[in-house]
């Protein structure tokens, strides 16, 4: 029984017509709680101190931001601890660090995106988007630099190659990866085979991409002879890299589908495979979709395995079963590392960054697509 209220004895009537007590004391539940202005206040103070500290050791925006952030994290943690106690202090620290981590993660993203946009945007035009590099020689680039005419040649052939090779590797990896994950979660019952697969899938994540490429090359050399460089070989190499990501993320997502749902379906006389296909997978689809997207993003930017499997082409090739193919990463790679004209590298560099921008946009679109798909099937409630 707290003595802090002036309330009279409780009354039994259901209608609370009594006016509220006139002189209410400060809310004892709010005791030891920082006022609302505390956070902005500490932030402002940190900014001032941060500015002071950074001017001491050579002012720059970066040091200002860093000092301010550090001072803010420490100060708000300490003040919260002093006023609200250690538990709230830890909570405040965790909150600060979580926010700081997010901002920190944005820095490289912003920097990379800025770099790509700054260097890539000038090169994006319809000529670039819809033409290949066929017939573009150093002389052409030299001419466009010397005459100040627009850069010729584009990434169309590489876009086609990227789309086709990625499509084929997805077509190979997603069924294999998802089925494997299904085996692990729904059928394997943690038996020796399931444990072996889980373990080796993890090991598979560590295969360096170039080794995957060499492996695919060797495999097809055995099957088709030494000249076998083509899109499908690259797709197989990428699949080796993609499958473990698909398996792992799908497995994790399937595991957290509650057993209750499986039981509900079984009890309705639904076959196991239909339960998996119609109940378990739709429930986990959002996570699976983002796992697959991640896996695609993981391989769509690969260079090394493409070079040894699909060669390099300047012209458009839509046949993954014959002739060489370029992809955006190999295109970027060679435009940067061995520019078309060594003496005038700017056109190549511009094409490389424009292609990088293109690739990022492609993955973004893919990502959006996956989200859309996931949204259509995902559990209708939840966050």
């Amino acid at each position: 029984m707290s003595a802090t209220t002036t309330r009279k004895t409780p009354n039994d009537s259901r209608n609370l017509q009594n006016p509220p007590p006139v002189a209410r004391k400060r809310n004892s539940l709010a005791k030891g709680h920082l006022p609302r202005w505390a956070v902005p206040g500490i932030a402002a103070a940190s900014l001032i101190l941060g500015a002071a500290a950074s001017t001491l050791g050579g002012f720059s925006v970066a040091t200002l931001a860093i000092y301010t952030a550090i001072i803010f994290v420490i100060a708000s943690t300490v003040i919260t601890t002093l006023v609200e106690g250690p538990r709230q202090g830890r909570n405040a620290l965790a909150t600060n660090l979580v926010y700081a981590a997010f901002l920190l993660a944005l820095i490289p993203l912003a920097s990379v995106l800025f770099t790509v946009l700054q260097k890539g945007l000038p090169g994006i035009n319809t000529h670039f988007l819809f033409h290949s590099m066929n017939g573009i020689t150093g002389a052409v680039d030299n001419a466009s630099v010397e005459n100040g005419t627009p850069v010729l040649g584009g990434a169309y052939h590489a876009v086609i190659g990227t789309l086709l090779i990625t499509l084929w590797s997805t077509v190979i990896s997603v069924p294999v990866g998802m089925l494997t994950a299904i085996y692990l979660v729904e059928y394997g019952k943690n038996g020796p085979l399931a444990r072996a697969i889980t373990f080796f899938v993890d090991v598979m994540t560590g295969i360096p991409s170039i080794v995957a490429g060499l492996f695919a090359t060797a495999l097809f050399a055995v099957l088709l002879g030494p000249t076998a460089r083509m899109g499908i070989v690259a797709a197989v190499a990428l699949s080796v890299l993609m499958i473990p990501t698909v398996v792992r993320s799908t497995e994790e997502m399937l595991k957290i589908v509650p057993n209750e749902l499986r039981e509900a379906a079984y009890a309705l006389g639904v076959r196991k495979w239909r339960t998996i296909a119609k109940v378990v997978i739709p429930t986990a689809i959002s996570g699976i979709a983002s796992g697959v997207t991640l896996a695609i993003a993981r391989v769509i930017g690969e260079t090394a395995p493409i070079l040894v499997t699909a060669g390099l082409a300047n012209n458009i090739n839509v046949n993954v079963f014959g002739n060489w193919m370029a992809t955006l990463p190999t295109f970027i790679y060679y435009q940067i590392l061995t520019p078309t004209s060594p003496t005038n590298v700017d056109p190549s560099i511009q094409r490389a960054w424009a292609a990088a921008l293109l690739l990022i946009v492609m993955v973004m679109v893919l990502n959006l697509g996956a989200r859309l798909v996931a949204g259509l099937f995902a559990p209708k409630k939840g966050r």
């Binding site: 830890r90 080796f200 080794v211 060499l214 930017g301 260079t303 990088a356 993955v363």
Partner: protein, 310 residues
């Protein structure tokens, strides 16, 4: 014995189950077979290295002394990457799942996922064009003030192309892998358990440590392992960012080398025994991954009884 009525039409539709479970099993076995094939391929191609005269191996002192510094370099780079990416990745995932305003969260997750969309060549180019020069002052400061620690022994690199820079680039590349997988799992934490913690008077952070993190623990470890795989196997970004060299403890001088980059840098010109050496290096990387995963498995298994699933 009378015929069992339940058995009569029992097989109807059972084919679907058989096909499906067969396909699932087949897929699993296919993966094992592929991996076995990769291992055999690596082993056969690497074999000349192990039988060759040690003086013929690069460095002239046998394969072990050739590979040892690169293994250490690989481990250093991957360790830097994971030391940065794991806490940041988990924190970012938590930010998106439990801190950010709900309406923003999905969009923010998408933004971070974008990091995964950037090809490694671009990370490499960004690393040596933007990041490395930007880090030079920091390296110089570290050399001047913390130079007594061998890790920061000076003189600092003029170009900023050091193993630390490579590690940071790898961390950025690994981050979205850890974040997006962890985030999905954090979001799946049963509401019941979160509410149980909150109703006991837990703060948000306490709720996270009581219900979210324990639930997500195996998933986090998997995510980190996936990230580790990427960090270990990444070729092009390291090849472009790192100014390679022999094994040195300092993280802010040029030096060190990773297996994947060693392969990528030397493969084009490699021939005969040198090629076998590089493939053997790939085999070693394979073994490293195997060992690390064994350890991770052991950690997960130790807590199996208390796993969050079900």
């Amino acid at each position: 014995m009378t015929t069992n009525a339940l058995r009569r039409n029992g097989s109807k539709g059972q084919a679907g189950d058989k096909v499906f479970s067969g396909a699932a099993l087949g897929a699993g076995i296919l993966i094992l077979a592929t991996l076995l094939a990769v291992a055999i391929f690596l082993f056969i191609q690497a074999l000349p290295t192990f039988t060759a005269d040690p003086t013929l191996i690069t460095g002239g002192e046998g394969f072990a002394s050739y590979i040892f510094p690169i293994v250490v370099g690989t481990v250093i780079a991957a360790a830097i990457a994971l030391l940065i990416a794991t806490p940041v990745g988990i924190a970012v995932a938590l930010f998106i799942s439990h801190y950010a305003p709900r309406k923003l969260a999905a969009g923010l997750g998408y933004v971070i996922d974008l990091l995964a969309a950037i090809p490694s060549v671009i990370y490499g180019a960004w690393g040596y064009l933007v990041l490395a020069p930007a880090l030079v002052p920091t390296f110089q400061w570290l050399a001047a003030n913390l130079g007594f620690i061998p890790l920061f022994a000076g003189p600092a690199s003029q170009t900023g192309k050091t193993i630390l820079t490579a590690g940071i680039v790898l961390a950025v590349m690994v981050l979205p892998i850890i974040t997006s997988l962890s985030r999905e799992i954090f979001l799946q934490t049963p509401k019941l358990h979160e509410e149980a913690a909150l109703a006991l008077g837990a703060t948000r952070w306490e709720m996270i440590t009581m219900s979210v993190l324990p639930f997500a623990r195996p998933g986090i470890i998997s995510a980190v392992m996936l990230g580790l795989g990427r960090a270990l196997g990444e070729t092009m970004a390291v090849a472009l960012v790192l100014s390679t060299g022999g094994l040195i403890p300092s993280l802010i001088k040029s030096g060190n080398q990773t297996i994947a980059a060693e392969i990528a840098l030397n493969f084009p010109e490699a021939f005969g025994l040198r090629l076998a050496e590089l493939i053997a290096a790939g085999l070693v990387l394979f073994v490293i991954t195997l060992v690390v995963n064994l350890i991770a498995r052991a950690i997960i298994a130790r807590h199996k009884e208390f796993s969050g699933a079900n």
